[in-house]
């Protein structure tokens, strides 16, 4: 079974620029999560989709972050404009029903 695919693996941008991350979940997984993981910390949930609808975005900084899930499959997370404190690994995960979430390798973002 193919895992969760994320791209790019690494990205370096200057502050105030914009950036987008892409995630392709495991086929058939209705739930998709985006997490932000700052170095030395546990992942923090940014947004959760059930099919193509948002069920939780309480910790998403909506003034600069946006996310969408196309046709209930792929998802993109965008940051515009980026700040230095956005430097982190952005993890995408998917799950089917109440089975455990499967994580991608993440995108490491560095904002300089």
């Amino acid at each position: 079974e193919a895992g969760v695919a994320q791209s790019p693996r690494y990205k370096i941008i200057e502050k105030r620029q914009s950036v987008a991350f892409w995630c392709n979940p495991i086929s058939g997984h209705a739930t998709l999560y985006w997490y932000q993981q700052i170095l030395g910390q546990g992942p923090k949930l940014l947004i959760q989709f059930q099919n193509n609808g948002v069920v939780d975005d309480s910790q998403l900084p909506k003034d600069r972050f946006s996310a969408e899930r196309l046709k209930g499959v792929d998802s993109t997370l965008k940051i515009q404009p980026a700040k230095l404190e956005d430097s982190a690994v952005y993890l995408c995960a998917s799950s089917f029903s109440r089975i455990e979430a499967f994580f991608g390798q993440g995108t490491r973002l560095t904002v300089v």
């Binding site: 969760v4 739930t31 999560y33 997490y35 030395g40 910390q41 546990g42 992942p43 923090k44 949930l45 959760q48 059930q50 069920v55 939780d56 910790q59 993890l91 995960a93 799950s95 109440r98 455990e100 979430a101 499967f102 994580f103 991608g104 390798q105 993440g106």
Partner: protein, 112 residues
């Protein structure tokens, strides 16, 4: 607020010894507790979970103990191997949409 770690405790164990990793949680409404393993450069990987109405669950070389009285969770790894070296996170799953909230991690280092 959500559980977010600011420090990363480290546990060093000799190869072949048993490891015990501890975690305190805050929300009594969680219905599942989960342990994840994260190796360098990879996303978290599910190890084992335990339902909130249980106090012990065993897997292959791992045992999770849940003490709801003191809101404490532990992961025991038997006969620790070098491949067990990683950061371990406890997480809580709650709500009708299975929101997964991560706690602070513990870095496990196995000494050959």
């Amino acid at each position: 607020g959500e559980s977010v770690g600011l420090h990363l405790p480290t546990l060093s164990v000799q190869e072949g010894d048993n490891s015990i990793i501890n975690c305190a949680y805050s929300n009594s409404a969680s219905d599942y507790f989960i342990w994840y393993k994260q190796e360098s450069g990879k996303g978290p990987q599910f190890i084992i979970d335990i339902r909130s109405n249980m106090d012990k669950r065993q897997g292959q070389r791992v045992t999770v103990l849940l003490n709801k009285t003191v809101k404490h969770l532990s992961l025991q790894i038997a006969a620790t191997q070098p491949g067990d070296s990683a950061v371990y996170f406890c997480a809580e799953r709650r709500g009708s949409y299975d929101k997964v909230i991560f706690g602070p991690g513990t870095s496990l280092s196995v000494i050959p």
